[in-house]
Amino acid sequence: MATATNATGEAYEQAFGALRAQGGPSWLPALRREAMDRFSALGFPTTRNEDWHFTSVTPIAERVFKVAPTRSGPATLSPADVAALVISDPDWHRLVFVNGRFEASLSAFAGLPADVRVTTLADALKESPEFVAEHLGKLASGEGQTFTAFNTAFAQDGVVIHVPGGEIVEAPVHIVHIADAQAAGAGIHPRLLVVAEALSRLTIIESFASTGSFGAPYLTNAVAEIEVGNGARVDHYKIQRESTDAFHVGTTQVRQGRDSMYHSFSYAAGAAISRTNVYTQLAGENGETRLNGLYLIDGTQHADHQTFVEHLAPGCASRELYKGILDGSSHGVFNGKVYVDPVAQKTDGKQTNHALLLSEHARVDTKPQLEIFADDVKCTHGATVGRLDEDALFYMKSRGLGAENARALLTYAFAAEVLETIEVDALREGLEALAFARFTQSFGEQR
């Protein structure tokens, strides 16, 4: 890996020094310092790094993203603005961050069960520093992960969720990140820490959106650490619809206990360059992981997804379905790794990755990686890259559907198969409507 150039390295060191003065519990400066050192030592990955072979982060590495400014004066966004920018539902608990800073006036999460704790990271550091110390940076240690170390060093705020054993959180917790014009040239490092104890249930929705125009690109570098206790279930939806002036890197690190379930859905339609990492460890018997995703890109957008499922215990199942629809000269990447430990007998793993190319200039690189060290396992992977099925188009036209409508419907159908896996109705319907409008509109324009 290349280290950051001296100039950018010094600039980040200086910015880091300014942040350290802000205080916090006594252990925090050491955690941040360690992360800063790691970030400096690792530098940004180059395409010589196997994990970043198809994604060049040079446009990120060559800039210095300043620390996002704190708002002075009244809030610039109203609740109605937020509702227009993200798919939401009045029944969901809502925490809104603008340029990485918590906006209490736009947030509402009072109706949670009494012993379930949902707070900002800043508040959690004041109110329960021991709890944060015990969990922060443990799953996402940043070892070998530049962007995770970058986040740990610079994270200003985020969300901490603690669901005690047996608690069921019915309504989803919606974490909204909005970047506005003030974010131009800034780096935003949201942090999410979730501890769902045994037999609890939680649904998290993270939405990333932006409003206004950006003279200079901004970077969102999000990190989530999620512990799913024995028999617990966490559903985690990440909806990335950032400005195409933005860079987005998101890393989710999960550890699952016995009989637990972690279900992740990633929707990526925004950003000039996006990289979404979902890493999960099945650490107890009979756990289940479901990783699904859909990316819709156009123009010169680049969207990269990397998943890594570690089967570390017997009898676990993992299911992955990722789909991409690419137009213009966009570039998609899917790298799905599955590791099966020698003890992880009776592992049942299935990975599927399909990409649909709407243009001759769009490109996809897909790389499944299976490393299996147990003998009694079932692991499969399948990948396709293709265009709309001519037989299906003819079938639809032979029923009277016009050529544009047939193409639109078929493209939408390709997306719908994976959107169907979303179990939160309002979110699924919202994304279906977005996808439907996107394709019916784009085919309309070609006419």
Partner: protein, 248 residues
């Protein structure tokens, strides 16, 4: 209604149809029979507008219009319907949405008012009975995971919804057990009217016990080698195709 004159067509380098002529009038049922590879399905697909074939000579006139100049969707909107031999699976699009979109586009093209989802559901309830299908089928993705028999019923259901003037059934009997065959044939017969016509493409005579044709044509090596009444189908069943092909 339909006039095919000296139709020649190729797929890739191969000439498949070598001069087909056939006239179908309103109210008639024509059976096109013939051994595998004779060009039966090609003929059906060319009438429906499949883009995989090139017509090298001849003409197809439908209601006085040059059918070959019309894209597939315009043919459908003008009342041409092909029941596919291998119906295509479309995961992600429900039958209900697909049928209603198709129905409304055909209505719109004919200057008629579109139906909203509730009105359409009323219509569907009647049509479902015709092919003995359950309403649950409407909420499944088009043909996805359907059994062979369900797919064929779904084709006839679409035909019942679209009420075509010219229906072409391409090997609709293949892969059907006797009960499904009866249901499918019953649906087709119920849809027969003096102002519409049906072309039944089949390898076997079996289906013609249920859908009785006015004319039977034998297609071999890209040509119609013999035409006759319904008794010709019985003769083919008893004697096979060899004698017709030799006589030709």
């Amino acid at each position: 209604m339909l006039k095919i004159d000296n139709l020649h067509a190729t797929a890739g380098d191969k000439e498949i149809l070598k001069g087909i002529s056939l006239t179908v009038n309103a109210g008639e049922v024509h059976a096109i029979m013939g051994p595998n590879g004779s060009g039966k399905s090609t003929l059906a697909q060319i009438i429906a507008g499949h883009p995989g074939y090139v017509v090298t000579a001849g003409s197809v006139t439908y209601e006085g219009k040059d059918l070959l100049a019309m894209p597939a969707e315009e043919r459908a909107q003008a009342g041409v319907f092909l029941a596919f031999q291998y119906p295509v699976e479309i995961p992600g699009v429900t039958n209900a949405y697909f049928f209603r979109s198709a129905y409304n586009e055909v209505r719109k093209a004919n200057g008629k008012e579109e139906l909203d989802p509730i009105e359409f559901l009323d219509l569907m309830e009647k049509k479902l009975k015709l092919v003995e299908m359950d309403e649950a089928m409407l909420h499944r993705s088009v043909n996805a995971g359907f059994s062979g028999g369900e797919k064929k019923r779904n084709e006839i259901l679409q035909m019942a919804v679209l009420e075509p003037k010219l229906a072409i059934l391409d090997e609709t009997d293949s892969g059907l057990d006797i009960d499904a065959l009866r249901v499918v044939a019953g649906g087709v017969n119920a849809l027969r009217r003096p102002d519409n016509a049906t072309i039944v493409v089949t390898h076997y005579q079996r289906l013609l016990n249920y859908i009785v044709p006015d004319f039977v044509h034998v297609l071999a090596h890209g040509r119609i080698v013999k035409s006759g009444g319904k008794e010709l189908a019985l003769e083919l069943e008893a004697r096979g195709y060899d004698w017709v092909m030799e006589a030709a």
